[in-house]
Amino acid sequence: MKYNIQQGESRDIVISVSDLHISFGRLAVLKGIDLEVYKGENFVVLGRSGSGKSVLIKTIAGLLKPDKGIVNVLGLQVDKLKVHDLQKLRLKMGFIFQSSALYDSMTIRENLEFSLVRNFKHMTAREVLKAVEEVLDAVGLREKINEMPSELSGGQIKRIGIARTLIIRPEIMLYDEPTAGLDPITCTEINQLINEVQSRYNTTSIIITHDLTCAKTTGTRIALLQDGNFIRMGSFTDVFDPGDSRVKSFYDYNFIQ
């Protein structure tokens, strides 16, 4: 599928969302979201807590079903897929949870192997170990291979979360608040890692955050989510128009002027 963006440049659409509505009971969280994410870009969704950012990527990953609207990933309508087809699609998607959601009863090695040994049965034990070591090298934590998640720091847990998704070589990375709860130095490291992953593995990413530094450092395009819809979308300078009071509140919140 090709699409002409503003500059007349033709690029592949990897994720497209149109008229997406999601409610929980009477609470309408997303009210007609339209979105297109192009191959190889880092698309950042900014918004306050509770604005529905995580709901958006969980719907893209097929964890939530839309009340109305269409979500297409790699040309497939996610909510219409059968379980088997959805699993196949998920092998092309990596989802990094806000808490990283590492399996706390398994070692780091077992965490990384988990999906690989179940979905790529032709791989030998040696190949699996090699793949584990490779992604651990990519996130700089090879020495932690036999440790338990409880023995790692917050930043290391985030890195392992990224490694766990990278091991299946996904085309798409979905980051849910990758820098939440981390100190500024670790945040910078995670932002660098997101950029490294994008350039090294040529992934397309959606990054959900409320951290402006993360958005500025990693985002190719940025969208600001408020009241269930995108109120601005474009490059960082396009979105952060100091004249817009809705945007200014974000500046104030993040202490960046």
Partner: protein, 263 residues
Amino acid sequence: MKKNSKEFVFSRRVDAFFLDVVSIHKFITRFFKELFRRPFEFKEIIHQCYVVGVKSLLLISLTGFVIGIVFTKQSRPPLVAFGAASWLPSLIGIAFVRAIGPLVTALIAAGKVGSNIGAELGSMKVTEQIDAMDVSAVNPFKYLVVTRVVATTVMLPILMLYCTLVGMMGSYLNVHANELTSLVSYFDHAFSSVSFIDVWSAVIRSFFYGFTIGIVGCYRGFNATNGTQGVGKAANRAVVFSMFLIFAEELVAVQITNWINGI
């Protein structure tokens, strides 16, 4: 957002109960569908059998043994008063095989294994580990639920037989201390009154108890909400609900067994 009472068909609690019944029915249907679908997680099933079986052995041994001694001690005086002390092994045999063995094992397992499953899966649910499995193209229902339910269903009858044996050993020690009966003679007497149907009824009932404990624990854990409080609730409800079901199943099973025995 607080719901208006007019939004409920009956009341909030009654509606929630019926919704729970529908939901657990769907959960059980899904279990049977996934049970026969590839891939089969044999390694995880064996691991869960170990967790359910081996790790419950100490508690079941202790409880069975103590109940065996206490039950024998309490039963002796009335039997002696009627001049029927020699019937003690038969009484213990029938009581343990027909009722105490299956029921005590099931209640201990509901407390230990059921709460463990509820808390473990509940914790995984609220920390998004189940979602993480889902998005990494691994079916969490298959890996977490099917394996645990199969393990409890398979292990409960084995634990029941073990508990019965240990309880009868406890009983034997008490009988031996009073009457110097030999082990062979004691078990010969004890099993002389136990029929084939009694043993099979106990085994089949234990399969059902095991299935109940597994499915209720998994259901409560898999549907846990509201953070750590939800995990506690899931574990608690897993125990309470499975115990309630075990008693209900026991009542039905007794009626069926008596009907088969022509009592």
